[in-house]
């Protein structure tokens, strides 16, 4: 019995060490990337470049958060990129008429939320597969963005508005500040509020949640509305960064956003996902893109390398879960 106890103890120590490594494997993997890129590229490790990366990651992260919410409920939202474009061009058109920048922001958020609301109703009430409902919305919102602009980018020259994308506060770029606000609030909601906990419950079991008195339909509608709202936030950030609103903005962003959420541990079967994980996912993608650009890897090879690294990053994370 003594030996058995002893071995259990050693096991415990070992497993604690393991646990520690695995718990922070996110950071470990990112660290590996950072070290590798620092060695490979003289330009990588600099304050400016890190600011760059954070700024570039912010839009994908915000959309990734939108998808984390949706994916936790076992849903999916393919329309975030298109909603971004549609919300962006409406805000842009409003600004072009000389409108106030705060109203423009509210319009972007409202348009995003309405599109999200429609997604939610289609999923929760009409009981459409989320994939289909949001695929439809993806096509509709993109079409609308093109229709209202006749395919032209809308130039934005309202300095208050563009400050949100190009300004700094204490030399931290506004997109990063907005992303951090989204990070804190959304993480707080998921971890600390009843709403967040119910989303996990719904993702875990729709039926058991309903039979526990949770208003599943309403919460799902609300979740897609949040996703649309966050697409509106991303729209503001992106268009303010670009000083213009292109109707084709955000094409393909849904895949990057889903990848960020899933790399970060969200399960498409529902019930799993964390905002910090999504941040990790977005950072991995962002760092790779940035690093490959800095290294001057050809655009062709970049695609190959990104594919391999996405698979690797998730694979390492899998190992962690297995050992947990």
């Amino acid at each position: 019995m003594v030996t058995s106890n002893h071995s259990t103890n050693t096991n415990n120590h070992l497993s604690k060490l393991k646990n520690f490594t695995y718990k922070y494997i996110y950071l470990v993997i990112i660290l590996i990337f950072v070290v590798a890129l620092t060695i490979l590229s003289p330009h990588f490790f600099s304050y400016n470049n890190f600011i760059n990366i954070f700024r570039q990651v912010s839009v994908n992260f915000i959309l990734g958060v939108a998808l984390t919410y949706v994916i936790i409920t076992a849903g999916i939202d393919l329309s975030v990129g298109s909603i971004l474009a549609f919300a962006g061009v409406t805000a842009g058109l409003f600004l072009r008429t000389g409108g106030n920048f705060i109203v423009a922001i509210l319009i972007a958020l409202l348009i995003g939320s309405i599109c999200g609301l429609i997604n939610g109703v289609l999923v929760a009430k009409a009981k459409l597969a989320p994939f289909i409902a949001t695929l439809g919305m993806m096509s509709i919102a993109r079409g609308l963005a093109l229709v209202v602009t006749s395919g032209n980018s809308i130039t934005i020259d309202n300095a208050n508005y563009t400050f949100l994308g190009s300004g700094n506060i204490y030399s931290i770029p506004m997109p990063v500040i907005i992303a951090i606000i989204v990070l804190i609030i959304s993480s707080f909601i998921l971890r600390k509020t009843w709403f967040g906990r119910y989303l996990y419950a719904i993702g875990g079991s729709h039926e058991a949640s309903r039979l526990s008195g949770i208003k599943v339909d309403k919460l799902i509608i609300f979740t897609y509305t949040i996703s649309g709202f966050l697409s509106g936030v991303a729209a503001v950030v992106l268009t303010a960064r670009l000083w213009s609103a292109p109707p084709i903005a955000g094409q393909g962003y849904e895949l990057d956003a889903i990848a960020a959420a899933v790399i970060g541990g969200a399960s498409l079967m529902g019930g799993k996902g964390k905002i910090l994980g999504t941040l990790y996912g977005a950072m991995v993608i962002g760092i790779i893109r940035n690093g490959l650009n800095l290294l001057g890897v050809s655009s062709f090879l970049q695609q190959v390398v990104i594919g391999v690294i996405i698979i690797l990053a998730v694979f390492l994370d899998k190992m962690r879960n297995k050992n947990e």
């Binding site: 509020t193 008195g213 208003k215």
Partner: protein, 502 residues
């Protein structure tokens, strides 16, 4: 008799849990060997090691004296070991015959790999006939009632004529006649020198069918004896560690005012014209055969299914219940028969499940009150003696009976005053059963109204104040507990004349 199977010094560690500790177990040919123990004692774990679903941490397994390694379910099947799992493992999207032949579909043409549907249809029909089942081999398993799904699982395990058949609580969702048929089949197998490991929490049937009993407690093998030499008291004492004096702690309580009244309730799920009322402090038992519509009554009251006609009154006030959310607001709680799909969110931890329906209420301006959640959870984990390493343990990993207790805890802490129990003690051990009964009494004392759907006659007879009997969606009998007799109830359940007094 020849030893077919020997398990020696089996241990199984899960992270944070020692599920089995140096267990020895052996099985003779032509023997029905009962495996007993409290919820979480390690019964399912032991047989999962035998079936290759889990890998043992330590120990050895011998078949016919030869050491074997059972690393996966396929290997177990090859060795002649078939299992009926406690949690049904069926593909709900497929037909009965395909489920029964899953993993061994016969081919009509080897080259093309075409399945011989005629053959599996015929053979399935034969098996279903033998088990006295009336659904067709073409039925979708997902459309069947839980009980029938259980029978499909049994039929599946019988196929291939296994040498060792393991049955993990096969009777928990069956009615008496089905259980009888199952026992006949088991006895036939026994005559053919097959061996059966049988797990059940229904005490009375152990002596009816078993030869020997092995009793586990907290992962340790306590004793193995012939069932001729041990009585119910002995078994419960070995299981629980103390003697259980009163299996049905029913008390005569003061019946208060009417709490719930149902009038002319009909739903599209097959219940017709249901009327009854329950008062504070009263336990209304609902009996009937499987499929008689008992579950549907509870679901209709709870707002889980649409009501077509009829009225519901709470404390004499007419209420509209359109969703479970409404029901919860009116203080109604449902403990569903299928805890895995409907009772629990398996991926959430014990604490979250216990507080699931009051999370919103516990929260202050939307923010969860973790401290309160912990307090509440601790209170009910203690009260119901839920066996879990800690309250942050995933409910998926709890033993079946403990999962049931978590569902109970959910409604207890929601301070419901109408409790709809659907088979409340299904899969719960003797000790815990008594605890659940005591809880029901406690609830009743505090003025709750309780409806208890049950297929266990002793439970119905001993715990109810009044008894309703259902047959094909209609009430065919109403009894006061003191006048009720098993044969009268059974008669009504079979659709016999309305009898008994109001």
């Amino acid at each position: 008799m020849a030893k077919v199977l020997q398990m020696k010094n089996i241990s199984k560690f899960f992270p944070g849990v020692k599920a089995l500790d140096n267990v020895d177990f052996s099985l003779d040919s032509g023997e029905i060997h009962v495996l007993a123990g409290e919820n979480g004692a390690g019964k399912s774990t032991l047989i999962k090691i035998l079936s290759g679903a889990y890998q043992k941490s330590e120990g050895e397994i011998f078949l016919h004296g030869q050491k074997v390694e059972i690393n996966n379910p396929i290997k177990a099947k090859k060795l002649g070991i078939n299992v009926i799992y406690q949690e049904l493992e069926l593909a709900l999207n497929m037909t009965v015959m395909e489920n029964i032949f899953l993993g061994k579909l016969p081919l009509s043409n080897r080259a093309f790999g075409t399945v011989d549907f005629n053959k599996i249809y015929q053979e399935t029909k034969n098996i279903l006939n033998k088990l006295g089942l009336d659904f067709t081999p073409n039925a979708l398993v997902g459309d069947l009632r839980v009980a029938d799904q259980q029978m499909v699982e049994i039929a599946k395990a019988l196929l291939g004529n296994p040498e060792i058949l393991i049955m993990d609580e096969p009777t928990s969702s069956l009615c008496d006649s089905e259980i009888e048929r199952l026992f006949t089949v088991m006895n036939d197998l026994k005559k053919a020198d097959k061996s059966i490991i049988f797990i059940s929490h229904r005490m009375e049937e152990l002596w009816e069918v078993g030869d020997k009993i092995s009793i586990l407690r907290s992962g340790k093998m306590i004793t193995t004896e012939s069932l001729d030499e041990i009585d119910e008291n002995g078994v419960t004492t070995a299981m629980v560690g103390k003697e259980i004096k009163n299996k049905f702690p029913k008390q005569k309580l003061n019946i208060g005012d009417e709490v719930l009244k149902v009038e002319n309730l009909s739903s599209n799920k097959g219940i017709k014209n249901i009327s009854f009322k329950v008062n504070a402090g009263e336990i209304l038992g609902i009996s009937g055969l499987v499929g008689s519509g008992r579950t549907e009554i509870l679901r209709a009251i709870f707002g889980a299914d649409k009501i077509e006609e009829g009225e519901i009154y709470i404390k004499s006030k007419r209420v509209k219940i359109n969703s479970p959310n409404d029901a919860v607001k009116y203080g109604i709680g449902l403990i569903p028969e299928d805890r895995k799909q409907q009772g629990l969110v398996l991926d959430l931890n014990v604490k979250d499940n216990i507080t699931l329906s009051i999370l919103k209420k516990l929260a202050k301006s939307g923010v969860l009150n973790e401290k309160k959640m912990k307090e509440v959870s601790k209170e009910y984990i203690d009260k119901l003696s839920i066996k879990t390493p800690n309250m942050n343990f995933k409910s998926k990993l709890l033993s079946g009976g403990n999962q049931q207790k978590v569902v109970l805890a959910k409604w207890l802490c929601a301070k419901s005053n109408v409790f709809l129990f659907d088979e409340p003690t299904r899969g719960i051990d003797v000790g815990a059963k008594v605890e659940v009964y005591e809880l029901m009494i406690e609830l009743a004392k505090n003025g709750a109204a309780i409806i208890m759907v049950s297929s266990e006659m002793p439970e119905i007879l001993n715990m109810s104040d009044r008894i309703l009997v259902m047959h094909e969606g209609e009430i065919t009998g109403k009894f006061k507990a003191e006048d009720a007799k098993a044969e009268n109830i059974l008669n009504c359940a079979m659709g016999g004349e309305l009898s008994g007094n109001k």
